[in-house]
Symmetry: C2
């Protein structure tokens, strides 16, 4: 059973400002049959672990950008989410991984598109962020850069899980028959947003894209402004869903613009863009966002979205479907 | 001599709405010694030809998105601009080409990063725009896609000009000596924006990046929201300068957001972002933009920017340096 919303007191920060972290693990149809009972439980356990990994950094006074990196790395290492280990397979039966990260304190960002070997694409994105130029690498050069800087690389087989291999076979069968696959295995992305004790915001996103995607396809998870954006004083945003629509609508930055210039509340800005650009077109999308006050928004127009957060009171929430 | 600002009456549209097109050919130090007298004249002639190619489509009632594509293709084919033929060489002595295009009427967009063979990357971006998903391809897959759809591909040598080969050698010498190269050969991008007789806006951008750039580096010219953005009722924008800064500040979309939500005039929005995010950091940048009323903005914080436009009165302007 995918289970109810969990709520548990974790710990209370002792600093003046209370840190907050939130994550998503992708949105979609998410029927019960998608995962076995044990897998639903495992996925939820991994969400808790990812939140705690990020929160441990925040509660010891560490920066939001390190917290979102650590949080996303746990999800990348989990087989249950479409990023890193467990990423979808493209049309050539390979993994091409996109990720990006942005530090709202400095305005610096890093991005990677089409990596095939780096174990944790979000870590590579952070390395690129720190070096300033180039801040974005695509293709084999991204993996070479990672290897040269001592980041762990893995063979393609490491990223493949039986579930993703089955999904690709199903997608290919649908293509042959001219039928449509369900959306349930198509999309999926992981991401995190955080507010640290110094009041800094950060966001990070990582994905394998969608099953049977074209080789070389770049999605919004690699694009600053589309899938990822953070700016101190405004918000931090990570998106999931049909990447092309997020790129065209520059969604993460659009949410920030509505808060900054229209003075809309966070949830209002997030819901408006989903209602305008996604729902009317039957396109699925989900967003995790946090504002400068630590308010969390976790919205989606699909059946469900893996999500969780630890709020300013130190309370941990995990959920997968609508309340 | 790089010459004065030109002004010439071209033609007057007979339709109720008067079309407008504007282009840039990159910004930078642009010392006189950068080009020979004949080359300055040639570059200006190519700007005129590019404007006329786009305007011919507009004045016969064609769409803005076709006009910016045609305009940018002329600049890609010219040896004088850093896009297509005449593109800079990367650290491996190769060309990797970025381009993007956006149709403000439909909100559709297309993008390509790190293409090495397609003769006109902007044409490939438009093809990707038309197919919806994927809308962005990176690396060899972009060239394979182009070739499979009958777009012309060329050997790498086609893109190389003696000027770019010299620039790479100079950059490498500076690297060896630990000295800094001048900015003059470092950046450069081409782009166009247009308003058609039906009131539709569009923008397109294309570049070889910067000399001696890392293999696999993706710049803002490939990123919707950063280097290129168009939305009917708001504006169309194409950027040039240090791509990383344009990506972090999501510049093209930021300009649109300030017009849309702050109700700022176009020139005000363009100047504000250059003044905030570029000039204080000593980072060069330039922007060509047009709003729904056909107002053109061509701003840069460098010594010069190749630029030109045909305004609503059908008058053609060409300029390279400050007035």
């Amino acid at each position: 059973m995918h289970g109810p919303i969990e709520r548990k007191d974790i710990m209370t920060s002792t600093s003046t400002r209370r840190p907050v972290i939130a994550l998503h693990g992708g949105c979609g149809v998410m029927s019960r049959a998608l995962l076995s009972e044990a897998e639903w439980a495992d996925a939820r356990a991994d969400i808790r672990e990812a939140l705690k990994a990020g929160y441990a950094i925040l509660s010891s006074g560490g920066p939001a950008v390190a917290a979102v990196e650590a949080c996303v790395m746990v999800l990348e290492d989990s087989p249950h989410f479409n990023a890193g280990h467990g990423a979808t397979l493209n049309a050539a039966g390979q993994h091409e991984l996109d990720a990006s990260i942005m530090d709202g304190a400095t305005g610096l960002a890093g991005a990677v598109a089409g990596a095939r070997a780096v174990r944790n694409p979000v870590r590579l994105a952070r390395r690129l962020m720190e070096q300033n130029i180039p801040m974005m690498l695509a293709g084999p050069a991204a993996d070479e850069y990672a290897a040269a800087r001592g980041l762990e690389t893995m063979p393609q087989a490491y990223f493949t899980t039986p579930r993703r291999a089955e999904a690709l076979a199903t997608m290919r069968a649908h293509d042959r028959l001219g039928t449509f696959a369900s959306e349930s295995e198509k999309h999926g992305t992981v991401g995190a947003v955080a507010l640290d004790c110094d009041g800094n915001l950060a966001a990070a996103t990582s994905t394998g894209g969608f099953a049977n995607k074209a080789v070389g396809r770049v999605g919004d998870s690699a694009i600053i402004g589309a899938g990822t954006y953070a700016r101190n004083g405004v918000c931090a945003v990570s998106c999931t869903g049909q990447g092309e629509q997020f790129i065209r609508h520059v969604v993460a930055h659009e949410i920030a613009a509505r808060i900054r210039y229209e003075h809309r509340p966070l949830a209002d800005a997030v819901c408006a863009i989903l209602a305008e650009a996604f729902t009317p077109h039957g396109i699925g999308g989900g967003v995790i966002a946090i504002d400068q006050a630590g308010t969390i928004s976790a919205e989606f127009n699909t059946e469900g979205m893996f999500r969780g957060w630890i709020d300013a009171e130190g309370t941990l929430f995990v959920a997968t479907h609508r309340d």
